[in-house]
Symmetry: C2
Subunit: 146 residues, 2 copies
DNA sequence: CAATAATAGATAGCATGCTATGTATTGGAG
DNA sequence: CTCCAATACATAGCATGCTATCTATTATTG
């Protein structure tokens, strides 16, 4: 049973979420909220406006999930929703100054986890695992370009 | 960003859960409930008694999570909790006859997903992905024998 | 043997994910 | 220009996961 691929992916996923949570909880955030803020910071650095739909597409999550995440982030003062001046249906999502101040720390945290994960992986193995994960996913959804 | 390991594991995990759900929903079950029934069927075939603690350890989930899963499975008539005659603290978890009848179908479903997943994987790749996933997880938790 | 610690399970309350559905705005066809 | 479809977001309600805490039982220790 320990050789079961599906089970091993599940365990890897849960272990990773826990690892991320250890740090983010100290920041009054969850792992999902932290991931979202990192994405918003990345987009901002690129000068891109981001609405909720963009976030859904990027993370491959549904609109109620993103609405909920943003509600909690907004309550805690990490983001702001501002109605788009060009399309009344969309909210543009902005980081607050408070968030910008700590974003570099978040980024370093993510890098630290990556390093820990990859500790004893050689170059070949690093490429291989991502290649295999993508291949596996392609076998399930015969679409998606990513 | 598409080369991010953590993100790719997340996507693989979600894709797999969705794939499992497609089938199990037709059986009035969720993927997690189906996985649990398969485990119980496996244990029963081995002649092993299973209590809630055993399930927690196997799936690496917490006791409230398992309590909830079993509550819903019991309501739907898939399992029964019976107080252990030797230890008043533990519930032994039993499948119902209704469940035993469909368990082989569930097993075939799981095998079908495995085949789909592994479609274009050669022997080396099959071993490699599990090896790499375990190694990754060992880098996060420097314990666990599994 | 009595008192205490450890263990198994349940309950409350929360975040994250989902589907189904509602509302408001925009876009397009006639 | 009007109407209808499509799009963006919100809301309700559910399952799965969690931590913190409670109860009941068993095991241990003095």
């Amino acid at each position: 049973m320990s050789e079961d691929l599906i089970f091993n992916i599940r365990l890897a996923y849960f272990a990773l979420e826990k690892e991320k949570n250890i740090y983010f909880e100290k920041q009054n955030l969850t792992a999902s909220q932290g991931d979202l803020l990192l994405y918003l910071g990345f987009a901002e650095r690129q000068g891109k406006d981001v609405n909720q739909k963009d976030i859904e597409r990027y993370f491959k999550l549904t609109n109620p999930t993103i609405t909920g995440l943003l509600n909690r982030l907004e309550e805690k003062g990490f983001v702001e929703r501002r109605k788009s001046p060009v399309d009344g249906r969309t909210n543009l999502i902005h980081l607050t100054d408070q968030t910008r101040k700590v974003l570099d720390q978040f980024k370093r945290h993510k890098d630290r986890i990556d390093q820990k994960l990859y500790r004893d992986f050689n170059d070949d193995e690093r490429k291989q695992i991502i290649y295999l994960l993508k291949k596996l996913r392609a076998n399930l959804n015969p679409d998606q370009p990513r």
